[in-house]
């Protein structure tokens, strides 16, 4: 009897082993070693790394580009996440009903998601090209002049945000679509019998019932907002004057252009912490206010 239980225990752990091993090797060990590396100076040539405590973090506090990147990233998250979620929900409601060409519409909304980010970035590069780019050509019909979207500090970041929203909304729509189809039709029928308005139906039935999905999508979107790097590299290289430098891009630059691996490790630690706090806060604070069936 005792033996069999042990066997069962062993079996369970063996089944878990592949996943645990993969997670440990590719996620946990690198994360921990990054935190350790951030306490050492960057080795150079014949000079080995030295233990310098929190010097890298002190440098970071005085580094204006780090603050710029963090600020840009927060703006990016606060603006793109709600817009992408809102748009995704609207699109999902749109293609959930029985309308003609529903499949084609769903496909159209989903297309941006299947494009690789770099390909999408290149398409948008063309949209944003001053003068003969698509946006300026359309703008000209309405009498507006050439706008250098990616070449001005004030428009470059919003221009990148638009790409993210465009790319992510279609993906999140799929989750909302799945959630909407889980909502029991009985509820809608009951509401109709009560003569509820469309807004009432949405706010009293649909919105609360898709709330778990909204939370899931919001966590993902927020985390994604801090993981953006492809379109920055492809479209602006962080310029002009760091206007589009986001945290992960700055980490890449510090690590692989400046070869300051110690400082890059410290920056990565900050990013890790931000992401950890975001997910914890969302799971623990928001979870209580979410209605689960």
């Amino acid at each position: 009897m005792h033996n069999r239980r042990l066997n069962l225990q062993l079996q369970g752990w063996l089944l878990l082993l592949p996943a645990v091993a993969l997670l440990a090797i590719f996620t946990h060990v690198p994360a921990v070693s990054t935190i350790i590396d951030s306490l050492f100076s960057t080795p150079q040539g014949r000079r080995p790394a030295a233990f310098i405590e929190f010097d890298q973090y002190r440098t970071m506090l005085a580094d204006p580009i780090f603050w710029r990147a963090l600020n840009n990233n927060l703006l990016y998250a606060l603006i793109t996440v709600p817009i992408a979620i809102g748009l995704a929900l609207v699109m999902a409601l749109c293609v959930n009903g029985r309308i003609r060409g529903r499949a084609a519409l769903r496909l159209a909304f989903f297309t941006p998601t299947i494009l690789p980010m770099v390909a999408a970035a290149n398409i948008w590069l063309f949209f944003y090209t001053p003068d003969y780019g698509l946006i300026d050509q359309v703008g000209r019909l309405f009498g507006s002049g050439a706008i250098n979207w990616l070449g001005n500090t004030s428009t470059a970041l919003p221009a990148l945000m638009a790409v993210t929203v465009w790319k992510e909304a279609g993906f999140f729509m799929i989750f909302f679509l799945a959630a909407l189809q889980q909502v029991s039709p009985d509820l809608y029928e009951a509401a109709r019998m009560e003569n509820a308005s469309r807004w009432q139906i949405f706010s009293r039935i649909t919105w609360p019932l898709v709330m778990p999905t909204t939370l899931f999508v919001a966590v993902n979107a927020l985390i994604n907002a801090f993981r953006i790097v492809d379109q920055v590299i492809a479209m602006t290289g962080g310029g002009p004057d760091n206007a589009t430098t986001l945290l992960l891009f700055y980490i890449y630059q510090v690590a692989f252009s400046f070869w300051d691996t110690g400082y890059a490790a410290a920056l990565s630690t900050v990013l890790l912490t931000v992401l950890g706090v975001v997910s914890l806060a969302q799971f623990f604070l928001l979870d209580r206010r979410i209605h689960y069936r």
Binding site: P130, Y132, R140, T153, G239, P240, D241, S257
Partner: protein
């Protein structure tokens, strides 16, 4: 049955392959190279290595295309840190100090010691060697090198009532010509700009041309000090911004490096500044008569050089270093330098390359190719320091701030100078 036959066949094939391989042990070297201009570069490089191996049957060269200059440096450095460095690589001439500081490259003059080798190391244009030497040593061999030149659209000059064969020769003419060449409609919308000087990615390089013309050198030879905020540097930066903001002959804000040639082909700009490496590209795509001219002058003319050098990586296996040196020598003979220059538009790196038959014929049929070479007389070293990427980024950020109008020139460059001083401080003793 069939399984046995298959195994038998595989074994036989394997034996045959082993027997047919050469009996002597060939020295194998890895060659990293980037691509920064248009054209079938991979094919050309493969052809070069094949020709080299024919001459040197005891050496096997493995060419590896490693992406842009930036990617190539990343790959070479990462590979080196993992103990798997390339034996020879083409990287930016300005990466020299980075490679020295990381103790990755060999001084060429310590392995190339014969009289012929010494002659070889002095056979290049002095302007190209400026970015190849430091501390009395030669660290890189000039290979795909360039300067900045002006390309101008002769048709637009004619329409604007300018002499189509005369490009702006001074800063004042840049403004005067630019004003005539900039076309506005009644609503003030611009359909054609006078001039485009790109400012995305690496604005420091094009700015360095303006600084050179204002007779100021941005960094010292040992790469430990920069002059980012001297009066003449500030004046040059102000002029760069004024072209767009005050004289309105150039688009405001950041002008993309990649789309500038396209703007030129589309007639959106009458003049553009870009690398001579774009020469073949312009020749193929410009549907109008175009000219190529050296940089205009203010106090003097001139442009920084640019492009890549061949570096030989440190290796405990001296046979590999010797083979790498042999390959570097092969790639830079007068004939090869001429061939490479004709195929790409890069400036052939040594004077005697221009005396080869192939080059003479090419230059006679396409005199624009000579402009970049002749400009070498006035050329200066491209900005290069220790911690190069970081120190140039300080200048790039400042220039972009000035060009987008977010900071005045003096304040932005003062910031850049302070940042550069901070970074370079450990190297200044």
């Amino acid at each position: 049955m069939s399984k046995f036959i298959r195994i038998g066949c595989a074994a036989a094939a394997l034996t045959a392959a082993l027997l047919s391989s050469p009996a002597f042990a060939a020295t194998e070297i890895t060659f990293y190279y980037p691509i920064a201009v248009g054209g079938p570069i991979t094919k050309i490089v493969d052809g070069y290595t094949a020709a080299f191996q024919k001459q040197h049957p005891d050496i096997v060269v493995k060419p590896v295309y490693t992406g842009s200059y930036q990617d190539s440096l990343v790959k070479a450095m990462t590979a080196a840190k993992a103990g798997n460095a390339p034996d020879v690589a083409v990287l930016l001439s300005t990466d020299m100090f980075t490679l020295i500081d990381n103790d990755l490259i060999e001084t060429i003059d310590t392995i190339a010691t014969s009289a012929a080798d010494k002659a070889w190391l002095t056979s290049f244009y002095p302007a190209f060697l400026l970015n190849s030497r430091s501390g009395g040593h030669t660290w890189g061999v000039p290979f795909q090198r360039s300067t900045i030149v002006q390309y101008w659209n002769k048709d637009t000059f004619k329409v604007a009532g300018l002499d189509p064969d005369k490009s702006p020769a001074t800063w004042d003419e840049m403004i005067a010509f630019g004003k005539k060449l900039t076309k506005r409609d009644a609503a003030g919308q611009v359909s054609q700009w006078g001039l485009e000087i790109p400012s995305s990615g690496f604005p420091y390089w094009l700015f360095q041309a303006l600084a050179t013309q204002n007779d100021v050198i941005l960094a010292n030879e040992s790469g430990t000090k920069v002059d980012y905020n001297g009066a003449r540097v500030v004046e040059a930066a102000q002029f760069f911004a004024d072209l767009g903001q005050m004289y309105e002959v150039m688009p405001k804000g950041i002008i993309d490096w990649g789309t500038t040639p396209k703007d030129f082909f589309e007639g959106k700009t009458a003049i553009m500044w870009t690398t001579t490496g774009n020469l073949s590209n312009v020749r193929q795509n410009a549907k109008f008569a175009f000219g190529v001219a050296p940089m205009p002058s203010k106090l003097r003319g001139g442009s920084p050089t640019g492009g890549g050098n061949i570096y030989i990586f440190k290796n405990n296996d001296k046979a590999k270093e010797a083979a790498a040196l042999e390959f570097a020598r092969f790639l830079t003979t007068p004939d090869m330098a001429a061939d490479w220059g004709i195929a790409t538009g890069y400036v052939a790196t040594r004077p005697d390359a221009w005396d080869t038959e192939a080059m003479k014929k090419y230059a006679a049929s396409f005199p624009a190719a000579l402009v970049a070479r002749d400009q070498l007389r006035d050329a200066v070293a491209e900005l290069s320091t220790h911690e190069n990427q970081r120190v140039t980024k300080a200048l790039n950020d400042a220039l972009q701030a000035v060009l987008t109008g977010t900071k005045p020139a003096k304040a932005a460059l003062d910031d850049a100078q302070a940042e550069a001083n901070r970074i370079l401080h450990p190297y200044q003793n």
